[in-house]
């Protein structure tokens, strides 16, 4: 039972936490529900105009945690305050989706789109419904149509790349990731994902591209361990291939060796001051050796 004498600083702390989670798009729904529920039940009067956006945030988090009671009460408050809002309608649709009433949700979204054909949120929810129902090829088709009209929607490009990867259509997934890299050239994660797709596609040219983009990801963020391992793997892979010239082989072995030394360095730094350091260093060396691609 929370006392109603919670200090004002505590309330503002909770508000700041919620705001940070909202602005940085965290998906820690359980925490949001905990903090938000307390804030809304006990201190609703002190929140001012913030309360509506907090209702929205807590409602979505509640849907994530299957708390339909909380979601319903938030939705009622929002409906009462904003009776004709498309934004609130979309939230109502999301609740129907959470209850797996996809037909009703689709009808709701269609009504929004009739009113406002440029409403991107409703279109994206319809695509999510297709995805939830497992109809990936239809979802892919709809998403492609959506992207033809809204070429700049990065969230959508990322979603499409995921769908293609699940369908093992790596060439198209690479295309989507290229779009993302182009619009966010300083984001090391897109470079790394692109490199991974290229590596998966295989073939000498793709491996070279993969190595380049792993290196770029590392350049953008020195601490991306996945990219470091990727660099090691792609460099060793190319070096072990019989079709390459001697110079290329030498270069790639150099890159691979460098990557291996950086990996060992990282593990050494991680184990500093711990007793098991010597054993883990040896384990890393063995791991690197076992990952060597041997010609088969």
């Amino acid at each position: 039972i929370t006392s109603t004498n919670v200090s004002l600083s505590c309330i503002s702390e909770m508000r700041d936490k919620l705001r940070k989670w909202r602005e940085e798009n965290y998906r820690n729904s359980e925490q949001i529900v905990d903090v938000g529920e307390e804030l809304l039940n006990e201190h609703a009067s002190k929140l001012g105009d913030d309360i509506w956006i907090i209702y929205e945030q807590v409602m979505i988090a509640a849907l994530d945690c299957s708390r339909d009671d909380l979601a319903w009460s938030c939705l009622q408050e929002l409906k009462r305050q904003f009776p004709d809002s498309h934004r609130v309608k979309r939230l109502a649709g999301m609740r129907l989706e959470a209850l797996e009433r996809y037909e009703d949700a689709n009808k709701l979204y269609d009504s929004i789109l009739q009113d406002d054909p440029t409403n991107t949120a409703a279109r994206k929810r319809k695509i999510s419904i297709l995805r939830a129902q497992g109809k990936s090829s239809e979802a892919i088709r709809e998403l492609n149509e959506y992207l033809e009209q809204f070429v700049g929607d990065q969230e959508a490009w990322h979603e499409l790349s995921e769908l293609y990867i699940n369908e093992h259509d790596y060439a198209k997934a690479a295309f989507c990731l290229e779009e993302l890299m182009m619009t966010n050239p300083h984001n090391h994660l897109y470079c790394e994902q692109y490199a991974e797709v290229k590596y998966t596609q295989g073939g000498l040219e793709n491996l070279e591209l993969a190595r380049k983009y792993f290196a770029q990801a590392l350049k953008l963020n020195n601490r991306n361990m996945r990219a470091l391992f990727g660099l090691y793997m792609s460099a060793s892979h190319i070096a072990a291939s019989p079709k390459v010239s001697a110079k290329v082989k030498k270069d790639n072995m150099k890159y691979g060796a460098w990557a291996a030394s950086q990996i060992s360095r990282a593990y050494q730094m991680a184990g500093r001051g711990k007793k098991e350091n010597k054993c883990s260093v040896k384990a890393v060396e063995e791991m690197l050796e076992s990952m060597q691609i041997t010609m088969s």
Partner: protein, 251 residues
């Protein structure tokens, strides 16, 4: 240069009231604008077109991060002589005549009503109510040309042009309080007159939409001349010449 000593009651009863009047009228204008403002209906085609143009521009600027082939493929999609997007797509353009287009006309009228009219009314009232005396002195010297403009109602030939009447003080306030409005009413507020005047001057800049064909053509030309210079040419060499910085990875 004459050093005049002004009655301190001028400060109390003229300078400050004008500031307050200007400020509150501005706030009032902001709310009135909000009340009679109607939502602009966005056309799907326009949104789509503007995004395509943005996409092409990004391709030009950041294409160097993509592999050569991907860049070529995209450039081809836009600029191919037969099937390129910019060549093929021609939008039907209905030139919007500002005199006959009703929606634009009402918008213009509303703009005039809420901004120009109050300014004229209040300027005139202040000129009538607070006339016949010098209000304040601008801190920099002005030439004699400014005298008739800034010293309405004060018929002194020998008076320095830096001494101004209350009407000029009023106009000074209108522009000066702009940042105060931003502080109190938030960005994009209806009381910001200079912003509105700017948009009236650049007038047809809003009308980028009525002529997407021209925009497409200029984008096509810009894209044609772009060459692909791969930024990743030497990325590995640059990377391996020094150790990685793991600071912050292990806490």
């Amino acid at each position: 240069m004459a050093h005049l000593l002004l009655d301190s009651s001028i400060r109390l009863w003229v300078v400050l009231p004008i500031v307050f009047i200007t400020f509150f009228v501005g706030v009032l204008r902001h709310y009135v604008t909000q009340l009679i403002h109607n939502e602009k209906k966005v056309d799907l085609q326009q949104v789509s077109d503007s995004q395509v143009l943005l996409h092409s521009r990004i391709l030009r600027e950041n294409g160097k991060y993509l592999p050569k082939q991907s860049f070529a493929m995209r450039k081809h999609y836009f600029n191919n002589p037969e099937t390129g997007f910019f060549k093929k797509v021609k939008r039907k353009v209905i030139p919007k005549n500002p005199m006959t287009d009703t929606s634009m006309l009402t918008d213009m009228m509303k703009g005039n009503l809420t901004n120009v009219l109050p300014m004229i009314l209040i300027g005139g009232w202040i000129n009538w109510a607070f006339s016949g005396f010098v209000t304040t002195k601008v801190p920099f010297p002005l030439t004699l040309r400014f005298k008739p403009m800034l010293q309405r109602g004060i018929e002194l030939i020998s008076l320095d042009a830096s001494w101004v009447s209350s009407a000029s003080w009023y106009f000074l306030n209108v522009f000066g309080l702009r940042s105060m409005y931003t502080l109190i009413l938030g960005q994009d507020n209806g009381a910001d007159q200079s912003r509105i005047m700017q948009s009236q001057m650049t007038g047809a800049a809003m009308a980028m939409s009525p002529d997407p064909n021209k925009a497409f053509k200029s984008e096509w030309e810009a894209l044609e001349i772009v060459e692909h210079k791969w930024a990743l040419e030497n990325v590995e060499e640059e990377l391996v010449c020094q150790d990685l910085n793991f600071r912050g990875l292990f806490s």
